[in-house]
């Protein structure tokens, strides 16, 4: 075994956002800047993030997720039938408001900073989730790259908001079938485009077995 194939180094995905990136994201979401202007800023941030990883000597590089609201909420840009909602906005739709507010408080979860990709209609892929990210990364580096995607369990748990999603899908499982279909299509496209590594993020799995109340939903 070649020494370069042992102890390969990489990172999990996201990079700190600069003030300019965050402002441009907010302006883009409010329609104040065009998609091209938004992408131009993000491209610059990704370029710097990739060059830092190369300078550090990482073996497998990521793009830092600069275009994403969060590692899963960015789906609302790519998937029809979704709506980006802050946790504060979701208060109107959760079953137990007092419990939800208590959860946000005790977990130090900022209701305005965390946004949820709520399912409000049939889920279909409007455009690839990350194939564009892969192509842009390829223009910046010759190293192997890793693309991150939200996992099916995380999405099923966060996207389902009964008061809204229940009008479209009979239950979680029916919605999950469409989520898996979308992720599978994406995975195959990434593979065919030559992506070396796809990482599905499933942080919520620990919540199921480690939080005091299994039913608690943090939408993280």
């Amino acid at each position: 075994m070649n020494a370069q194939n042992t102890f390969l180094t990489t990172q999990v995905g996201s990079w700190p956002r600069s003030r300019q990136m965050l402002k441009t994201l907010r302006d883009y979401q409010k329609g104040r800047v065009s998609r091209n202007e938004f992408n131009a800023v993000a491209d610059g941030e990704i370029r710097r993030t990739v060059s830092l990883q190369e300078k550090a000597g990482l073996d497998i590089v990521v793009d830092g997720e600069h275009r994403r609201e969060s590692f899963y909420a960015f789906l609302t840009d790519k998937v029809a039938g979704t709506q980006l909602m802050s946790l504060a906005e979701m208060l109107d739709f959760v079953e137990d408001k007092a419990e939800f507010e208590e959860m946000l408080r005790t977990m130090d979860m900022p209701a305005s900073a965390v946004k949820n990709p709520t399912c409000i209609g049939r889920l279909t892929r409007k455009e690839p989730l990350a194939v564009g990210d892969l192509h842009f990364l390829r223009t910046l580096t010759n190293k192997p790259v890793k693309i991150t995607l939200p996992g099916p369990y995380l999405l099923t748990r966060s996207m389902w908001v009964g008061a809204l999603t229940g009008k479209v899908y009979r239950n979680h499982k029916k919605m999950a079938d469409d989520i898996v279909k979308i992720l599978r299509e994406e995975l195959l496209e990434l593979r065919d485009a030559g992506c070396e590594f796809v990482q599905f993020d499933e942080p919520v799995l620990t919540e199921v077995v480690m939080s005091e109340e299994c039913q608690r939903r943090t939408f993280m």
């Binding site: 042992t6 102890f7 830092l52 550090a56």
Partner: protein, 141 residues
């Protein structure tokens, strides 16, 4: 699936720098689900003591690769290279060097408006991971 490496990343939340509000526990109760996954690599948080002991996954999941979390993205202090090497050496009790990847515990900015660190610290943490990998490669050829 052939032609691409598929990983699954699991952590205990990354929205707060207050370690006390994040979840705590090892991977034992997830093992039945993890063992059934048709994937190549588990990318697991292990830099924080809240993640428990490496033996838990080493004993059950060593037929796949491990992306070993060796730095905490939420702290300002950079982990000593020697500590990263020691953590990897513990994992070597179960994994071959080509199965063992070294990575961060999670991202540095999972939520756009809630980055858990600044770029300068994040960069130094990546350098520490790379430095540890160099030492490990020279020791375990």
């Amino acid at each position: 699936m052939d032609g691409i490496r598929i990983g699954v990343h699991i952590c205990r939340g990354n929205w707060s720098k207050d370690e006390d509000v994040l979840l705590r526990g090892d991977y034992a109760r997830l093992l039945p689900a993890l063992e059934r996954m048709k994937i190549d690599q588990f990318v697991l948080e292990y830099a924080t003591p809240r993640a428990g002991d490496i033996d838990v996954v080493g004993k059950k999941l060593a037929d796949r690769e491990l992306g070993l979390g060796v730095v905490n993205p939420r702290t300002n202090d950079v982990e000593p290279v020697a500590a990263i090497v020691a953590k990897a050496e513990k994992a070597l009790e179960y994994y071959r060097p080509e199965q063992l990847f070294l990575n961060t515990d999670c991202g540095f900015g999972c939520f756009a408006s809630r980055s858990v660190n600044v770029e300068e610290v994040a960069y130094k943490k990546l350098c520490a991971i790379v430095e540890a990998a160099k030492i490990l490669r020279s020791k375990y050829r």
